[in-house]
Assembly symmetry: C3
Homo-oligomer: 147 residues x 3
Amino acid sequence: MLRSILSNIRMIEGRKLEFSTKGENDILNITEQVQNIIEQSDAQDGFVTLFLQSTTSGLLIIEWEQGILNDFRNAMERLAPKSGIYEHERAWHDGNGHSHIRSSIVGANLSIPFAKKKLLLGKWQQIVLAEFDVRPRSRTLVMQIHA
Amino acid sequence: MLRSILSNIRMIEGRKLEFSTKGENDILNITEQVQNIIEQSDAQDGFVTLFLQSTTSGLLIIEWEQGILNDFRNAMERLAPKSGIYEHERAWHDGNGHSHIRSSIVGANLSIPFAKKKLLLGKWQQIVLAEFDVRPRSRTLVMQIHA
Amino acid sequence: MLRSILSNIRMIEGRKLEFSTKGENDILNITEQVQNIIEQSDAQDGFVTLFLQSTTSGLLIIEWEQGILNDFRNAMERLAPKSGIYEHERAWHDGNGHSHIRSSIVGANLSIPFAKKKLLLGKWQQIVLAEFDVRPRSRTLVMQIHA
């Protein structure tokens, strides 16, 4: 059993994290950065909410192994093929119809517990930002520490 | 960096929101309603949890552009085709085997931060309720404001 | 409208729950266990975060009907076929390339509200742990009660 906390102080610490991606199929491991921010905060036990402000990229948990990352990219191609026909294209011609679909299904939102300042991730779990858009993008992630 | 809050008051404000859908493929934009409830509350900074009480519809973030919405509907048809064979049908004959699958994969649960009473959504992000069931339904969404 | 709570005490109760699965396609209904822990806690109103510490299984909401559960298993096979080609296999030969993909897309993280000690689930909603790995596994779920 983990520690239980009763406190008469409620803390929310908010951060905006900025990331640059190299475009389609780039996957960034952001676990260490999230962990570092928790360590620098005053929080001991609680959880973080991560919310990516984007409709053409995703936030997910996966093992950081290059084979798996490629398998994930291939799975995204099956889920919403880049060469598929998208109505979004007819009006906007920006080539990212498939990116919107991948983002809406994978999601961009995680809530992760921590205790004694350590994210309670499983041994192989890493937090990653997956770029689905067709060009390099700047991405903003809102992180809140709740303790 | 966003504001950080230390408070000796913890607030949870709970609401049940009711929605009527027109049946399969109806998608409702509920962003404004969620935003309005935050504005009417006493909360300044925090997050909302949204939980849709349904196994045949979904809650997700997507850009509100008619082409993308149709592309999402087409992606759901690839993910779980309406004309596919479902064991659920053999016993229940209610024609919504595919709806259950779409709901379980897309999910019905979001946590979204806000600051100074504004949802911290990206420029194009909208919160939508996607009806996957084959007939018009009443849907209940539990919203909690945490501040 | 649900009750709204203003309190000068903040409570986080943390638990680690352990589950044993029978291997691929095993699906465990954990709803009752989560409900029981809330009832045994001091919390009245709030929400729980559930975080499964795994990259080859998933946490989701679905109706507990055997036909639907089989339909979900079939949908996972379409999403990431067991007999597909996975780069992960070339290096690791542990036969679970498809399990990683299913886990990363379905997710392993839920936030569920409760009021008066009752999870605010819809009539048919059950919380399930879906094993995607090819062999029996021990699974750890971190549960936090926030009230």
